[in-house]
Structures are given as C-alpha cells and as structure tokens.
C-alpha cells in the first residue's frame, strides 16, 4: 500500500501543474464567458435564464476542450517515460508488482479527471453568483429566479449529464468516466505493445457513449432507463476488460 501511495503521488506530480492550470482555466473561462455574455444586461434588457446563458457562452465546448486537455496531459506523462532518460525501464524494474504500477497511474489519471469535474462545478456556481450580483446591482428583484441555482442544475443539459439526480443517470455518468479513463490508458498501452487493434475497441466505446448521451438528452433516441442501465453495464464490462488486459500486457513487459 505504501508503495502504491508513493508511486501514485509520483505519477500524479508529473501531471499536477498542468491539471491545476486547466482547472483554473476552466473556472476563469466560466466567469469570463458568462460575464461577456451578460455584459449588456441592464434594467431594459431581456434576461435569459442562467442555464441558457451558460450554454450559449460556449462553456460546454470549453469543458470538452479541458477534458481533452487532461487526457492529453495523461498521454504526455505516459509517453514521457519513453523519452530522454527512458524511465520506463526504471519503472518496470522497481520492486513493486506490475499491477501496482498500472493502478497508481490509473488512479492519478482518475484524480485529475475528478479535479476537472470539480472545477466545472465551482466555475458554474461562481458564474451564477457573478450573474446574480450583477443583476442585483441594477434591479430590485424583478429579474430574480428564486432558487435559481437548483433550477439551473436540473434544467441545463450539461449539468444533467455531469451531475445527475437519480441512480440510473449517476451510474451512466460514472460508467462513462470510468471507461474514458481505463480506455485511454488501454489505448496507449496497446500502442506501446504494438497491439493497435485496441483502437478499434475505443471506436466502439465512443459510439456507445454517443448513444448513451443521446438517450439521456432524449435527442436522437427516446429516453429509456433500461437501455441506459444496459449501456452502462456494457461500458463497465469494457472498462474491466481494459484494466485486465492492460495489466496482462504490463506483466508481460510488452510496453517496454
């Protein structure tokens, strides 16, 4: 456990600055983009709801870019072991089990993802508070949305996807993030071990995630709890398969 803890911290410290910068950027972007969107608000303006402002400000795209940024940071930290001093050989010869080596990196990636999600949450609330203060500065309550933060949470598509209310949707969100974390790690391990067909699996995963998101947003497919549970279970099974095969490949030393 101590070795796992040390390794995880070491792996995480390689990404932390980049992740913190992305989180800070995401929070700052929430505030900047929302404030830009409402810059002309005054007592004569039509006031949109906060969730619509947040959506129209481009924050869902910014969040997606930050998510890709964290994934890029992870990939870079993984490949950095093959550059320069080629520390991958040092890592593989450490007196720890290969599973611990794999799990420490996986956990550091998962913590980075969780931090980004937390930054999204903080940014959303900060932007909401900023808008409330701005509107309060020139109005006397006629543009208030009572309990607006709660309403923004349940009315925003992005927030419903990231922070759902019920068990089925929570399971779905968790399974999507788990499969992204395990899958991205699996792709790079496959690439290093010359098993490029792992990419095909990830194409299937992307397709499944796309279907689940569309079912949950009720856009192309109709909402169906049973289908969401089935897709979530499939994604979790794929994640477990990715973890298992990744450990097998690392144990074989195929990534060296």
């Amino acid at each position: 456990m101590k070795r796992f803890y040390r390794l995880m911290n070491a792996q995480f410290s390689e990404m932390i600055i980049g992740v913190l910068l992305l989180c800070a950027g995401l929070i700052a972007a929430s505030w900047l983009l929302v404030s830009y969107r409402i810059k002309d608000y005054n007592i004569y303006a039509v006031h949109e709801r906060f969730e619509d402002i947040y959506n129209a400000s481009g924050m869902p795209i910014v969040f997606l870019l930050c998510l890709l940024g964290v994934i890029a940071l992870f990939i870079k930290s993984f490949y950095s072991a093959y550059w320069g001093s080629k520390s991958i050989y040092t890592l593989l010869t450490l007196p720890v089990k290969r599973e611990i080596l794999y799990l420490s990196k996986l956990c550091s990636f998962a913590i980075s993802m969780l931090m980004l999600l937390c930054a999204q949450l903080v940014g959303f609330i900060m932007a909401y508070c900023y808008m409330e203060l701005k509107v309060a500065s020139y109005s006397e309550g006629q543009f208030d949305m009572t309990n607006g933060l709660f309403l923004a949470f349940i009315r925003s598509d992005l927030m419903r996807l990231l922070w759902p209310y019920d068990f089925v949707n929570i399971l779905s969100t968790v399974s999507i993030f788990i499969v992204i974390i395990a899958g991205v790690y699996y792709i790079v391990i496959c690439e290093r071990s010359q098993r490029r067909w792992g990419v095909i699996l990830m194409v299937i995963v992307s397709w499944l995630i796309n279907i689940v998101v569309n079912i949950r947003l009720d856009t192309i497919f109709n909402y169906d709890s049973l289908k969401i549970i089935l897709y979530s279970a499939t994604l979790l099974v794929i994640s477990a398969a990715c973890v298992w095969h990744s450990i097998v490949l690392i144990k074989k030393g195929a990534i060296a």
């Binding site: 410290s13 600055i17 949707n169």
Partner: protein, 427 residues
Amino acid sequence: MIKLKSPILIRHIALPLLFVTIVIIVAVLVLVRVAKEQGTYKIAHIYGDSSVMDGITISGTIIDANHKTSFTWQDAQVESETEVYSNRQKDKVYRYFRGLFRPINDYYYYVYNFPDRGFFIERGTLTDGNWKTLDTVVLDIPVKRLVQENNNVWEFSIENTYGLTEAEGDVYFTLTSPPKYKGMNGIYRLNFDQWEQETEPIMTFNLNNTSVEEETGTAVLGLESVNDILALILVKDNALVIEGYQTNGAKLGEIVLSPFIFEHINAEFADEDTLARYEVRYEAYSQEETGVLSLSFNSDQSHRTIVTLQRSEDELKLIDITEITKEDDLLREHGDNEHGERFITYKDGRLYYVGVFHEYIDKEGYALDNMSPIRLLIRVYEQGNIVYTDELLTDVNDDLLRVNQYDLSHYNYDRAEYRNFYNLYIH
C-alpha cells in the same frame, strides 16, 4: 511538462487534493439537493373570514419539463415535495385539453367515428406526444343524422370524448350528439379485455328528434360520474336535463333546469337577450370523497354557472347553482379549458373554486396570452357572493424572466419550459 520540484509535495500531493475535491463536490451536491425544497410557497390572505377554510385542503402540482412539485395547502400552511425527472419531459406528455385524448386512470381514450363501420373507442398511451393504441372497442350505435347534409358544409358537433367517463374502475360511454340526430342511444360499459364480445348498453334512450325544422329536440352533451353514479347531461328543448343512473342502468333521479340556453343547440329559445348562452364544452369536477359533482357551464370569459349535484342514497340531487362573474378585468382564466388548471366543489353551503388566473397589464391583454404571469387563487362563494379569497404565492412566474411581452424574438414555444399548475383538487 512542468513538474513539481518540492519533495514533500511529490510524496503527498495526491491525497490532500483528492480530499479537497471530494469535499467540494459532496458539499455542492448536498446544497443543491437540499435546495430542491426551497421554493416559495406562501399564503397571501386577500379577503374574508378564514373560518370558511376550516377543514378544506387544496392539493396540486407544479410541473415543468424537468421537475414536479406536489403541494398540499391547509390552514395557511403549505407542504411541498419535489421530484426531479430523470429526463426532460416533452411538452405533450401531460397536456390535456377537454375534447382530446381523455385520461382515465392509467390510459388515454379517444373516439373515432367511421361511417358504416361504427364508433371505434380506443384505449392507448401517450408517450412524448405520440399516441399508441392498445385496445379498441367497436360500438354500433343506431344514431344517425336526420338529414344527410353536404359534406363540404361545416356542421356543428360535440366532441365524442365528452361521452366517456369512469365509475368504479369501469369506463362508460354514450354518444354525444347535437339535436339534428335521431335513433336509439345508450350508456355502454366498455370492456376492453373482452372487446371481441358485443357490448350491450346498460340503458338506452330515444333521441326523439323528428325534424330539422322543429325547434324541439334532444342533444347529448356528455356523460359524467361521481362515485358509482353516472350523470347523463342532456339538453331537451330549452332545458338542461341531468339524469342520474346506477352502473346497472337503473335511473336515480332527474334534474331539469329551465331555461338553459346553449349556443348552436337551443339558442332559438332565448327570447330574452339577457339570457346567458352557454358553450357546449362544459367542465366537470367530481369530488369523490363527498360524492359531489360540479358542472361548470361557461357563457364567456366573464360568466359561468356552476350546477352542483350530490349523490345520495337513492338519487342524484341538485344542491346548488352558483353564478360567477369576473371579479377583476385584469385577471382572466385560460380560455382553452386546460385540464387541471382549476377545481370547483361545493361543501357546507359554500362553493370553493381554486384556479389559475392570468394577469394582464391592461384590458387589451398581452401579445402573448399564454406567457402572461399567473396567480393561483382560492375563492369561496356563498349564495352567489364571494366571501373569501386567498392566494398561493409561488415562484412559477420567475420562469417568465426571458419573456418580454413586446418582443416576440425571445418567445419560446415549448410550454414545458415554464412551470404551471396541474391536478388542482379540493379535499
């Protein structure tokens, strides 16, 4: 890549950050979930002695596409419970207008008339606005027009879904018809589980219409129920006739109100201009706990007559007639009879009326009537006079934030995006 230099941070950075992250996420999510029940539900007393509200409880729901709040209003106290939907509900899921698909228990019902093939009464579901037929009962009811008119000419009709009602778990149907129809009508108990068997009526009645020229005639406006009693709503000559029936077809009294004039049916009997001309699309409010059925006949936006009947041991009897006129020019009821936006009942000598009123800024109204602010009022009438008014203050009008009545560019046509009142009921 920029890396940490401090050895202490390198050794221990992950756990504190993970801890802080989890604390923030949990704290925010707990706060948001607690906020679920923090909407405004306050009673504003407007007029009258509150003793008339003793023993009265009003319930209802506030619904939009994303959540539903059920509330109970009793003795100046309001309790609420909010449910967040797992997905966005589409507009037509819970919208019902009288005359369209009629919701009874867990299903919706609709009546199709195919000439020469009979009346097809379909039981089905409405999911995301899409109708799906589950079962069909076909009835061959020998009722026909007196004269086959030109198909290209508009002919007045009464929506057949007014003839559907439910009593003791069974669905009953009578064919609604204007006076220019003849033949033998009846009340049919619909058995959707054994639809291939011919459905026999529990009672029959002759429409007795003989000539289109004659000013007399019988029109069938609809069928309603309270507890186990069916109320057949008829117009005979210049009178409104309400006949009570048991579910085995035995008659339980008859109420005749005359003169009672309806547009398109017996308006020729209105020899006085002062007589109200009622619309055929009446509203029915059945209070199952007290066995009271209130029928509201609207003459226009400013006037309605409420006929209240009560089920007793051996008959359906008339207990009250109250005329209501508009109290305030700037408060109007919705014109399209949207189901659930109001409930009317009679108790202890008083008529209780809870309903949604749209607030207008001037008598000409808004550019967007549907998007005008709404108020939920309870009004109590005694012998035709208003004796009490209260208002339930809520946040529903906050949703109109983006609606500017003079600027249609911000109008969103999806009404499910705006909270509204449904399922109002007085206990």
